[in-house]
Point group: C2
Chain length 297, copies 2
């Protein structure tokens, strides 16, 4: 496949830039969004780049997901697998990738119309899972996830060409600012903040524990936060946070005893499949970025 023009160059120059987004937020299609979301919600997503859908999954469903999560935390064989990422300082399970493929419980969730229909509407047609994972984020020593745009990484390190992907995070525990709920800069998805510093080889091996490349500069973050402010996605377990692939987001550490686990599914439009990574490095493994096996949801 002919590599497309790099419309969103990053990690090339030695100073950060703010480039305009050249893709729509809600991609036009024949899908009638009004059956899925109210007009105000659609407008809010367009403006803020995220949307909180309270109580989307029932308490019973959340209980089932959490039982599977606990089983996985105690599954020694899982700890050794590449899909399992552990906390840098205590080895506790931090994330498990590719849950849409390998887990009978979670692969059904990926296809659930309550989230898949919304993804199809926002992205304007058929979608597939670009990446999925279970984030444990335990209490007491839950690490922070520094500010980043997912798209900047998926573009540079995976070769995702355009901003036509959306993430759905299903909260398995109550999230508020005290236990490090996700913070987002509402509206930041409309601007593309480039990062500095060339991507090192096998960057994913460290970045999934603590991201050091593809990290916005202090000046960029100050610019975005002063222009757009910072929202905190506080919601109860069972709620769904839908957010654009380019909205700047991150979360503080969590010293409270209350974990903030979530299921994370990234939907990508079938016309936006990945090319070669724009950073020129070898592609990241399949469990981080669907490249070999693409199945329309």
């Amino acid at each position: 496949m002919l590599q497309p023009e790099d419309v969103y160059p990053s990690r090339i120059k030695d100073s950060a830039e703010v480039l305009p987004r050249v893709d729509p937020v809600i991609h036009p299609s024949g899908i009638d969004g009004s059956e899925l979301l109210g007009e105000a919600d659609i407008e809010s997503f367009n403006e803020k780049g995220y949307l909180l859908l309270p109580n989307t999954f029932t308490a019973t469903e959340v209980e089932m997901f959490r039982a599977e999560l606990e089983r996985m935390q105690n599954d020694i064989s899982l700890l050794g697998s590449p899909e399992a990422i552990t906390e840098p300082d205590n080895g506790e399970l931090r994330s498990v990738f590719q849950i849409h493929k390998d887990h009978p419980v979670f692969s059904n969730v990926a296809k659930d119309p309550r989230i898949a229909d919304i993804a199809r509407f926002i992205l304007g047609g058929d979608v597939y899972i670009h990446q999925s994972r279970l984030n444990f984020k335990p209490g007491y020593r839950g690490r922070e996830f520094y500010w980043h745009s997912d798209f900047e990484t998926w573009h540079v390190e995976d070769g995702m060409p355009r901003m036509r992907a959306v993430s759905c995070s299903i909260l398995l525990t109550d999230n508020d600012a005290k236990n490090g709920a996700l913070m987002l800069m509402p509206g930041s998805h409309k601007e593309y903040v480039t990062c500095v510093g060339e991507t090192p080889d096998n960057h994913y091996l460290s970045s999934l524990k603590k991201q050091e490349y593809g990290v916005p500069s202090d000046e960029s973050l100050k610019y975005l936060s002063e222009k757009y402010g910072i929202d905190c996605a506080e919601a109860k377990a069972g709620s769904v946070l839908v957010f654009d692939c380019n909205v700047m987001h991150g979360s503080n550490s969590n010293i409270t005893p209350d974990p903030r686990s979530n299921l994370f599914f990234v939907y990508n439009h079938v016309d936006n499949m990945v090319f070669d990574p724009f950073c020129g490095k070898p592609p990241r493994p399949e469990f981080i970025c669907s490249r070999e096996t693409i199945k329309t949801i």
Copy 2:
């Protein structure tokens, strides 16, 4: 001086315990608190172990304090002094101790009746500064301060005999849950959670960067947070947070661009001066614990 009985033993046994507080929260004296605080506030402090006093210092005063803070951040000679504690990973200034002694701007604040009178009322008489410091807590990479009871450390490592000290934190920046405002467990001051693990030599050299000893166990924190909940001291710059020496508190990291600097003064009653450390180790330096020069405020 004859070492008093250790009424609050900690870091002795190899399992944590919860012991009752045997000291009053508001120590009886002839001081009429009603001129300083409303009845509801007095009751609230007694019950919760902390009190937020909004807009105690004016914007002009806060500006003056911040100007001094910025001067200190750029004072190279300060960086090398023992009173200056830097962030473990980037060398940025984290705290400066003993600001009540060496800084014309801040030593006046320590005597300011708006806080000193409240300390005298709560502690029931004359007080002196046990410890004072300026916490920078910068944006972007502000570290977390894990859960702890100040008294547990001041008792074990400084020899403070009883719970008759109170801290006043003057907010120099707006604090909310997003930029890691202090979290407290309201009511936890009425129980004494012991810690495990013997205090290592010169523990303060590491503990001021990242506390590893004198840290409550997960079980103790779960017990306290389920029994008392977790409050977040959100307030504007110029507000004062008054909190009992034994209330369990801590703060998450701060990835937002907004710093949360504060001035921190610990008042101790003149009848509660420190003895030898109950851990049996050499005393900590004077800049952390007033022992040699005690001046009634």
